[in-house]
Symmetry: C2
Subunit: 189 residues, 2 copies
Amino acid sequence: MSTILRQHIEKIVPLTDEEFDRVMSHFKTRKLKKHQFLLQEGDTAHAHFDNFVVSGLLKVYHTSDDGHEHILQFAPEDWWVADYRANYFESSAVVNISCLENSELLTISYANREQLCKEFHKLEHFFRKKATGGFVSQQRRILSLLNNNAKERYEEFLSLYPGLSQRLSKTLIASYLGVSRETLSRLSD
Amino acid sequence: MSTILRQHIEKIVPLTDEEFDRVMSHFKTRKLKKHQFLLQEGDTAHAHFDNFVVSGLLKVYHTSDDGHEHILQFAPEDWWVADYRANYFESSAVVNISCLENSELLTISYANREQLCKEFHKLEHFFRKKATGGFVSQQRRILSLLNNNAKERYEEFLSLYPGLSQRLSKTLIASYLGVSRETLSRLSD
């Protein structure tokens, strides 16, 4: 499992064996089954962690008062997943994170991630690049929500995440795109 | 002008005079009048810069094929503004940035910003924190676009950016919130 994380980090910064051992010493393995929660809204105990997905698929979502699920992110293998708002403000969880498939994660506490960034300039660089990439992709999604109709959003999703759509139900994709299940069915048939 | 930038950076990391001089050596002053462009869609020459707003107010927006303006960000004093996607992918500009008020900026090239991050771990930390804060605030906005009705979006905007709404026309706020001008008028009267 650690090999996959090392390859992932080394796409941005090379690490010596000693450095990587030090990085790994902060991570713990977690295995979750389909439908299990990594985090639930309101939780404080598990809110301040970051998680690298070694295998599987998770969704980050918020449930509105009328019971609708709004999906902020899907997290397949080689992605990071966390409640970044809860980490940033050191607050309780504002989102739910659950598994759409059996998943294996490498988990690090927020405090230890900050410690690694402080200790290793390289890691600070790595996580800055990741945060910037995330910011850029969120901005594209905002623009898509403001600008694009259902058909354009769906086509953009398919082209950005080829391979992911086969692993997701139409209901999940519709919830991510902010369109109704019926609209998506018309588009994808 | 440099004092304001120093205070802004030192909210996150303290700098020695020498360090700050080195930081400042990469910045240039730019003054723009109301309605002037900092950047236009398709531009390559001016796309790879980051800008700290010393005074004034700018908007970052995209114009759709049917002529509608979709606002990604407002940037008042003490904010950073750039085409972060163009910077990240080293591509031509995908957004327009123009001044809603006369504005004074401190401008740094993307290459020099990266150089500062490489040279000073502190600066890498500063920009990681900024990127993470930006990511978190974009995620809140996505959730608001998926989950909230026009009234809730408007109230959230007023509470997040008190003071800014008086400097913006209803048309601009409507475009940022992704609601029609008529809907916003009904809500804000």
